[in-house]
C-alpha cells in the first residue's frame, strides 16, 4: 500500500493515477478482510475499486489526462496536509488499544447486539441486524443521502445542458 501511495503521488499521468487508486482500494479491501470485516471489504472493493474508478475514468474522458503544473508553491498545501494528519494521529492517541475488551465500545450496546440479535431478529448476520433493524433510522438517513447525491448530480448536469440550449436562441 505504501508503494502504491508513493507511485500515486509521483505520477503525473491521471490515467495511471486512477488505476493506482483502484489498486489501492483493492489492497484496502484485503486489509478489511484481514480485520474480519467482510461487509465493509465488499463495499470497498465494489465502490472504491470498481465504481469510483469507472466514474473517474469517464470524467477523465471529458478532460485532458495529463496533470497541469501547479502554479503556486507546494508549501502551503503540504503544511495543511501535515497539520491535518498530525492532528488526526494525535486524536488516535486517546483511543483505547486495538481489540481491547474493556474499551467503552465493547461494553455499551455491542454485547447486547452480539448476544441477543439472533433471538430478537432471527437474522444471523449481526451487521445486517444493526444496519437494518437496530439502527434503521440511521440507514434511512444514509439512503436519503445517497438519493440526495443522485438528485444533486441530475440537477447540476441537467441544468447546464438546458442553459446551453437556451443560449443561442
Amino acid at each position: 500500500m505504501a508503494i502504491t501511495v508513493i507511485v500515486l503521488v509521483r505520477s503525473r499521468n491521471l490515467f495511471s493515477v486512477v488505476v493506482m487508486g483502484g489498486i489501492y482500494s483493492f489492497l484496502m479491501a484485503t486489509v478489511l478482510v484481514a480485520l474480519d470485516a467482510p461487509d465493509v471489504a465488499m463495499t470497498e472493493a465494489s465502490v472504491g475499486a470498481g465504481m469510483s474508478t469507472v466514474l473517474l475514468l469517464s470524467a477523465l474522458y471529458l478532460c485532458r489526462s495529463e496533470e497541469a503544473k501547479s502554479l503556486r508553491g507546494l508549501w502551503l498545501p503540504l503544511a495543511v496536509a501535515v497539520t491535518t494528519g498530525g492532528m488526526l494521529v494525535f486524536g488516535t492517541l486517546d483511543l483505547p488499544a486495538f481489540s481491547d475488551p474493556a474499551a467503552p465500545i465493547h461494553t455499551h450496546v455491542a454485547p447486547r447486539y452480539l448476544n441477543d440479535a439472533l433471538r430478537e431478529t432471527g437474522v444471523p448476520n449481526v451487521v445486517t441486524d444493526v444496519l437494518a433493524s437496530y439502527r434503521g433510522f440511521d440507514t434511512l438517513g444514509e439512503v436519503t443521502v445517497v438519493f440526495t447525491a443522485g438528485a444533486g448530480v441530475i440537477a447540476l448536469l441537467r441544468r447546464r445542458r438546458n442553459r446551453k440550449q437556451a443560449g443561442p436562441q
Partner: protein, 141 residues
C-alpha cells in the same frame, strides 16, 4: 470497443452471473456478508459493463432514464414505506415487530424490504451518475 468480439462475448457471458451474484448478495445478506448496498452496486456494475462494451445508447435502451430515475426515488420511498407500514399497524416508525404475527418473522420481513429499498436506490443513483457523466461529452448540445 464495439467491434471487439472477445470482449463482447465474454461480457455477455458474465452479465447473468453478475446479476445472480448481486441477487445472492442481496438475499443472502441475512446469513453472510452483504446486503442491499453491496448488491445495488454490483447490479449497477453489471449495467455499466454492458454500457462500456456495447455503448451507452444500448444500455439506455435496455434501462431507460425514466426507469433509473424512478428507482432513485422508489428505493427511499420503499424504505420509508416500511416505516409507515409499522406505523399503520400500531407500532412505532420503522418498527418491524408488528409486520407479522410472529415478531421474529416480522423482523425478517422488515429487514428484507428495507434492504430491497437500499439496493434499488443505490443502483439507481450509481447508474444515473454514470449515465450523466458518460453522456455529457457526446450529447449534441
Amino acid at each position: 470497443m464495439r467491434h471487439d468480439l472477445v470482449l463482447r462475448v465474454i461480457a455477455k457471458l458474465m452479465m447473468p452471473f453478475t446479476l445472480l451474484f448481486a441477487l445472492y448478495v442481496q438475499f443472502h445478506g441475512d446469513f453472510g456478508p452483504g446486503g442491499g448496498f453491496q448488491a445495488g452496486v454490483i447490479a449497477a456494475a453489471m449495467v455499466i459493463l454492458y454500457a462500456l462494451i456495447y455503448g451507452l445508447d444500448q444500455a439506455r435502451k435496455a434501462l431507460p432514464d425514466w426507469l433509473v430515475e424512478t428507482m432513485l426515488a422508489g428505493g427511499v420511498l420503499l424504505y420509508a414505506g416500511v416505516g409507515m407500514a409499522g406505523l399503520m399497524l400500531g407500532g412505532n416508525f420503522l418498527d418491524y415487530f408488528v409486520l407479522h404475527a410472529d415478531p421474529v418473522q416480522g423482523q425478517h420481513r422488515g429487514i428484507f424490504w428495507v434492504e430491497a429499498g437500499v439496493a434499488v436506490t443505490v443502483s439507481g443513483v450509481m447508474l444515473k451518475i454514470f449515465y450523466m457523466f458518460a453522456g455529457r461529452g457526446r450529447d449534441p448540445e
